[in-house]
């Protein structure tokens, strides 16, 4: 691909929805959930052959950087862009955009997620190539996901008229970004067949997106410009440390995309995309055994267990399940969670309980 093409992997998420496996010190992207790779490693490796490591950047929280660097030592250290503290996706993306623009004013930049699952990396690469071509036509491109069920856990993008066919993929104008809907609204959107899930992945020319920052978020643009001028100099840390905490957290969807000009969406089909947003999402993501189980456990006696998940990362314990169905059992050694599949979203309630009781050792 073009030498001006870059990927920015957003890897700063906290991610409490896979608690107790994901923790503050070990967020979702650092976990080996599927096979031997962590989600972050998979996000980097699925660019193999498309981009050299030199053109893969990672934007992350300062305290997560050492672990992420260790997981992908092939990435140059200077490609890790560190946020002193989270300030929303608009700020994180804006920061890498100005850093990239300084490095290469002609840069085309994809914004990718570090903590999602993609079953078909080859198709993903072809979509990225198509998206780059759309971006070269001056669009801000959103990677949409063709919805397969009325999900209430995702944002949606309403598609407008078709812009054209790029690399075999239909590309549409994006009319509207919508927050997570209720079930009725989600069913309606599925029926009208003109909405895609918002994957949180984007593609654009850096010059083009910075023009949108300047137009729509002038305060942030000014802050980023000041940081950019100090970037790579001795003053960098001092300037970032002064400016960053003052930035108002905002998301890219509502800060930029919602009211940007020339926004396109590619509603990808067949990617096997999954945001791994809750324990029950594993059942859409991983193959199950003949009883519908996902068993990730060294020592397990399974008696009449069906449609359940057992995930244990301790190998010195025996786990026995008898006559259970639709359960998610997660054992991290210090925490045991037994949750019915249809209550997987309630994991956050447990986290709230821990916060209220200041049991920070389990967060």
């Amino acid at each position: 691909m073009s030498e001006h093409y870059y990927a920015v992997i957003m890897a700063g998420g906290g991610g409490t929805r896979l608690w107790p496996l994901s923790r503050q010190a070990r967020p979702k992207q650092m976990l080996q959930l599927v096979g031997k790779e962590t989600l972050f490693q998979a996000a980097v490796h699925r660019l193999n052959g498309l981009l050299p490591p030199e053109r893969i950047l990672v934007v992350t929280a300062a305290d997560q950087a050492p672990e992420l660097r260790a997981q992908c030592p092939e990435l140059p250290a200077e490609n890790f862009v560190l946020e002193p503290m989270p300030r929303g996706t608009a700020s994180a993306i804006g920061l890498t955009a100005v850093v990239l623009q300084k490095r290469d004013p002609q840069a085309v930049m994809s914004v990718l997620t570090a903590d999602h699952f993609i079953a078909d990396p080859e198709l993903f690469q072809r979509i990225l190539v198509a998206a780059r071509d759309v971006a070269m036509d001056d669009y801000l491109v959103t990677l949409g996901i063709h919805p397969t069920y009325p999900a209430t856990g995702y944002g949606y993008i309403q598609q407008g008229e078709k812009i054209g066919l790029y690399g075999g993929f239909g590309v549409y104008k994006a009319l509207r970004f919508r927050e997570k809907p209720d079930l009725e609204t989600a069913e309606q959107m599925l029926k009208t067949e003109d909405h895609a899930w918002n994957s949180g992945m984007f593609m654009w020319r850096v010059e083009r997106v910075m023009a949108e920052f300047q137009r729509q978020m002038p305060e942030l643009f000014a802050a980023l410009t000041e940081i950019a001028s100090a970037w790579g100099t001795a003053a960098q840390d001092q300037v970032v440390g002064r400016i960053w905490p003052e930035i108002k957290p905002q998301t890219i969807d509502y800060g930029i995309m919602e009211n940007a000009q020339k926004v396109a969406v590619i509603p990808a089909e067949g990617l096997g995309w999954n945001d791994v947003g809750s324990w029950d999402s594993f059942f859409d993501m991983l193959p199950t055994d003949e009883d519908g189980n996902i068993l990730h456990c060294d020592q397990h006696i399974n008696l009449d267990t069906s449609d359940s998940m057992v995930y244990a990362d301790c190998d010195d314990r025996l786990i026995v399940t008898i006559g259970v169905k639709d359960l998610v059992i997660v054992d991290t050694g210090d925490v045991l969670m037994v949750c019915s599949k249809d209550h997987a979203q309630d994991v956050r309630k447990a986290i709230n309980h821990l916060k209220e009781n200041e049991q920070t050792e389990y967060l």
Copy 2:
């Protein structure tokens, strides 16, 4: 009570049905399942005021004796009658009977269980007094339990004509001992109102029961007589060690009771008796909270959990249950069991699996 009255507590059981809490090295009677006492301690203490410790004997397996002695140091060491190996209830009861007969030829002996729960010890003592009076009329007395549901996990005793009223309790001839029935038979027996559960507890004059041994089990009687002659002498261990292994295991129900003369049954009501025969039996035995839960766990976050039991004997782990119902969760540190309440009987399948795979560390 009379100075010739003795209690023999049968405490040799292995008890795998409360696995993984009960183990070969820590059988059910040694567990603190209710409050601060172990079941064995409760079995001894519920005789307080009725019998002095000197007249409470314990028959148990040799390897269990040290722990049981430590749990009830008030019992004289010589009151522990040790079986070198299990040879059935007929042999264990016969052995204590001859030992007792040697000590006190006029002994009246109650045979009590060590691993059952009794909610009303005061009523239990009154029943024992009545049973002794029936035994003094030369009956072999069985303590029956008035059935409250068509249990398939208990043996039954069919009641015949009423013998009389002893201490306010109706006493009946025992017609027939029946093994654990199927549900249909159990329902039938409940309907006819002439069956009691067999509690495995008895009362008789030692002389009287030994006559039955002589008549019905002459081989065992001969073996016991030979052991009795050596008991308390230097030859005791040598004689027991020679004779005991040759004894054919048999139960008291079928070896003696089924065909004995003058067998009586007292169908006790309101004792709150429970054989603690499986994890779901706790729900009949212990008070539940307003959501129907029994929680025995130092650190537990309970979210939408109902009709479930959480039993953890490790205090350094957090257990979180979310949206679960009718589950039994037992965590012993080395083993975690998650079992639906209606599969509580299948715990034995897990044990069989461990035996087949020679994972003896978990047995």
